[in-house]
Symmetry: C2
C-alpha cells in the first residue's frame, strides 16, 4: 500500500481512485454538461485571454438557461412582490429567509401551489399535504426514483423512460443501480408516444427486471412535442393495466407554441377518467421555477404533487427529505410568486401580463423560426417545436465522418458538435447524450437566444453543416 | 394484483408500498426532525386553534436554526452588500441570479472562498479548483460519501463516525448501504476523541467491512467539544497510517467559546505536518452559511475543499454534481459574502464587526449559562459547551421510567423528551437519535434562544426533570 519514492519519502496510494470509486457513479452520464460544455468553458477562457478563434464569442445553446441567454427576468419576480414577500416571511421561522423551513416546504407556499393546481386543472381538488417543495424539479424526480428502487437480479426495479430522454433520468437510474427501460418516441410522427411501443418495451423488460414506473416528459425534452389529451389517457390506461407508477415531468407546462396544441396535465386527465383510475393510479407530477416564462433556474425552486401515494410511503418520503433539512427558502419564495401571480387590479398585473405574453410570444416565434431555417438545410430535418425550449433535429453525418469519429472513439454526433464548437463557438448537445435510434444522429439546441442572435446562430449552423458535409463527402 | 371492492370497482394494489419501497430508505433515521418535532408542529397547530395546553408556546430547541430563534440576520448579508452583489452578478449568466451557474459553483465565489481559507490558515495555499460550492454542507458530505461507497459483503465500504454523531452521517450511510463504524467520544474527558478508541473501532470493523473514511465533526455536534491541535495531528497520523480518507465537518469553525480553546482547521494542521502528510493524506473539509454568526440556514449555501484528491476522481465528482445543474445561486452569493466580509475602511465594516461580535459573545454567554444551570440539577450532568451551538447533557432516567418507555417500544430518552414537550412545550432531541453508550441517556438542546428566553427554558427543563424524577422514583 505504500512505497518509497526516490527521495526516500513514503508515498501512499490514494484511498479514492478511479478504480475504487463507487461504480454506480462511474456509470452516470449527463451530456447537457458533458465534454462539449467543458470545452466551451475552456474556449471562453481562451477568448478572454486574447487567443485568436474563428469566432468572437461562445454561444451556449446547450441548456435551457433563459436569463443567461438574455431573457429579462419577469419584473414581478424581482421587484414588485413586496406584499407577497411579507406573507411568505410571516411563514418563515423568525420571519427570516435565513431560517430553515419545514422539510416538505413552507405551509403557505404549499397552499398556494395547491390552489394554482386547482385553477390549472379546472377545479380538480388538490391537497397541500400532497405537495412537496423541492430543489428544482431534478431533486423531486431523483427522490421519487429513490423510493421506487429495490430488488436484485431479475427483480431489480426497472423504470421506463422515453428515448430521446432528458439525461437526468438515465443518470439517476445509473446512480441508483436501477434498470433503465427504453421506449422510443416516433420521430416520423412528430415524436409521438405510441402505446404498442410502450408495450413492446415493457414486455421485453419483464424478462430481466421488475418494471415499476413509467416516466413521461410533456411537453417533451429534448424533443419538443406536446402530447394530446387522447395520448395521455392511453398512457394512464396503460399504467393502470400494467400497474406502473406514473411520473409526469411537466416543467414546460406553460411552454406550448404550436397551433392546435394545448397542455393537459396528467392529473386533470386522470381525474376526468373517473374513480376507477383517479382512485388508484399512483402519479407524481413535477414542476419548477426554471422553465416556462420564468426561467429562474438559479433559484432551484420546484414542487412535486403526489396522487394516490400510500400513506406509509409518504411518511418515509417526509423522513427522507428531512435529512437535507429543507429546499432553499429563496427558491420556495419564488415558487410561491410563480403560482400566485398578480391578479387583475393589483399594481403589477398589467406589466406582468405584458412581460409574460411577450416572453411566451417570442419563444413561439423562435420555435417556428428554428424549425423553418433548419429544414432549409439539406441533411437536417427538424420536427415542429410544439413546446418546451429545444429543437432536436436529425442530422445526416457522412460515412467518412462517422468513420473518423469511430476511430477517435467518439460518437459521430459528439464529433460533429465538437467540430461545430471549435469552428463557430456554438455549443450544442449531441443527440447521443439523450439516446436515439441506432444509426440516427441529432443535436439539441435551445431556442432561447434573442431573435436576432438566434437568426445568426441558425445561419452559422447551416453554414457549418454544409461545410462539414462537403468536407466529409 | 387487483380485487373487486364492495361497490364492484376494481381496486389495484399500490405499486409503491411500505413493503416494496427501497429498503435503504426505510433504514434512514434523522432524529433532529423526527417524531418529537412532528409532535411539536402538531402542538403549535393545536395552540393556534385555541386548544388549552400547560404552556403558551412551543420552543424548538431541537435544531441550530438561529434566525428562527430570534437571532437577527447580520445586516451586511442583507442590506449593505451592494458592491459585492454587483460583482457576483457580473459572474452570473445574463448577470442574473436566475441563471444556472457552473456546476462546481461560480468561479469568482470559489476564488473568494480560496482566499478566505488562505487567510484563515495563515497563508497555506488554496486552489479555487479544489473548491466545490454545495447546497448546504449536507449536500457536500453526502456527495463525498457517495463517491467512497463500493464493494459487497466483507469488502463493503465502512465509514467511521463519532458517537454521538450528527445523524446526517448515519442517514446517508444507511441510504448508500455503507457500513457505519462507530467510535465513541469520551464523555468523561469532555467528549474528547481518543486514538486508542479509533484503533479499537477500526480493528473490529476490518473483520466485516473495508473501512475507507474517517469523519470528524469539529467543533462537535451534538457534543460541543473543540479539538486541540495535538488531537487533530494524532487523527491525521492515524488516517495516514491506516489509509483513511478524512472528512472534516468544520461548519462551526467560528463558534468557539471556551477559554483556551481555539479552532484549528484540519488543512492547516495537515500542512504544518510537512509533505509526508500534506502531499498524501486525502481530506475533504466542509463549511456552510448556516452556522457560526451567520445562521443563514434557509439559503442552503456551503462549500467543500478537497485536498489531495485524485484527478480522475475529481472529474467524476464534477460530472456527478453537474447532474443537479448547480447549487442555489442565492446561497452561492451568500457564501461569497461570508468569505468576503467588509474590510476596515468600508462603510459596513464597523457595524458588521459590532454585530458579529455581539452575536458570538451572546452565544459564548449562553453556552456558559446552559452548562451552569443544567449542572445545578440533580440527575443532569453537562460537559462545557466549548463550541458549536448545542449542549448534550447526560440525564439520569429512573428505572421505572425506563420500564414504561420499553413497554411502549420507545427509547427512554425519547419517552423523556416527548413528556417534556407535552408538559412544557420545549422541543429537544433525544440522545438516542445521535447515538450514545448503552445505558446512558442524553438530550440535545440548542443554546440559540435569546438569553432571557434561554433562562426561562433552562428553568423549565430543571423543573420538568425534578418532577419527572419524582414521578418515576
Amino acid at each position: 500500500m505504500s512505497k518509497m519514492t526516490e527521495n526516500g519519502m513514503m508515498s501512499r496510494a490514494k484511498v479514492l481512485t478511479i478504480d475504487t470509486i463507487n461504480p454506480t457513479v462511474k456509470k452516470v452520464e449527463y451530456a447537457v454538461r458533458g465534454p462539449i460544455v467543458q470545452r466551451a468553458v475552456e474556449l471562453e477562457r481562451e477568448l478572454s485571454q486574447g487567443m485568436k478563434k474563428p469566432f468572437a464569442e461562445v454561444i451556449k445553446a446547450n441548456i435551457g438557461d433563459a436569463h443567461a441567454m438574455g431573457q429579462q427576468p419577469i419584473t414581478f419576480f424581482r421587484q414588485d412582490a413586496k406584499s407577497r414577500a411579507c406573507r411568505i416571511l410571516q411563514s418563515c421561522g423568525g420571519h427570516s429567509m435565513g431560517a430553515y423551513s419545514a422539510s416538505q416546504g413552507i405551509d403557505s407556499v404549499r397552499e398556494d401551489v395547491a390552489r394554482y393546481i386547482e385553477r390549472r386543472d379546472g377545479g380538480v381538488p388538490c391537497d397541500p399535504d400532497d405537495i412537496y417543495l423541492t430543489t428544482g424539479a431534478s431533486d423531486g424526480i431523483v427522490t421519487m426514483l429513490k423510493l421506487l428502487v429495490c430488488g436484485e437480479g431479475a427483480s431489480r426495479t426497472g423504470v421506463m423512460i422515453s428515448i430521446p430522454q432528458y439525461p437526468l433520468y438515465s443518470a439517476a437510474l445509473a446512480e441508483l443501480g436501477a434498470v433503465q427501460i427504453n421506449y422510443y418516441l416516433n420521430e416520423e410522427k412528430c415524436w409521438s408516444l405510441d402505446i404498442p411501443e410502450l408495450q413492446r418495451a415493457l414486455d421485453e423488460a419483464r424478462q430481466y427486471c421488475n418494471p415499476r414506473a413509467l416516466c413521461i416528459i410533456n411537453p417533451g425534452n429534448p424533443t419538443g412535442q406536446v402530447q394530446s389529451r387522447k395520448c395521455i389517457e392511453d398512457v394512464i390506461q396503460f399504467a393502470a393495466k400494467e400497474r406502473l407508477f406514473l411520473m409526469a415531468d411537466e416543467v414546460y407546462q406553460d411552454n406550448v407554441y404550436a397551433d392546435g396544441c394545448q397542455f393537459h396535465s396528467f392529473k386533470k386527465v386522470l381525474f376526468e377518467m373517473g374513480p376507477e383510475y383517479s382512485d388508484t393510479v399512483e402519479l407524481a407530477s413535477f414542476h419548477s421555477t426554471s422553465k416556462c416564462y420564468m426561467g429562474e433556474c438559479g433559484f432551484r425552486g420546484g414542487y412535486m404533487e403526489l396522487i394516490n401515494m400510500d400513506d406509509e410511503v409518504k411518511a418515509q418520503l417526509t423522513k427522507l427529505v428531512s435529512v437535507r433539512l429543507c429546499p432553499p427558502v429563496p427558491g420556495q419564495a419564488l415558487m410561491d410568486l410563480v403560482v400566485n401571480p398578480p391578479q387583475p387590479g393589483e399594481p403589477s398585473y398589467d406589466n406582468f401580463i405584458k412581460e409574460r405574453t411577450a416572453t411566451l410570444s417570442a419563444l413561439a416565434e423562435k420555435a417556428k423560426l428554428t424549425e423553418q431555417v433548419l429544414n432549409t438545410v439539406q441533411g437536417i430535418s427538424c420536427n415542429p417545436v410544439q413546446g418546451a425550449m429545444y429543437s432536436f433535429p436529425r442530422i445526416t453525418i457522412p460515412e467518412k465522418a462517422v468513420k473518423e469519429a469511430t476511430e477517435k472513439g467518439q460518437q459521430p454526433d459528439m464529433f460533429y458538435c465538437m467540430k461545430m464548437l471549435e469552428e463557430t463557438g456554438i455549443c450544442l448537445v449531441p443527440g447521443s447524450g439523450f439516446g436515439q435510434k441506432d444509426g440516427t444522429y441529432h443535436f439539441r439546441m435551445t431556442i432561447l437566444p434573442p431573435s436576432d442572435k438566434l437568426k445568426i446562430l441558425l445561419d452559422k449552423v447551416k453554414e457549418f453543416h454544409q461545410k462539414f458535409t462537403q468536407q466529409y463527402s
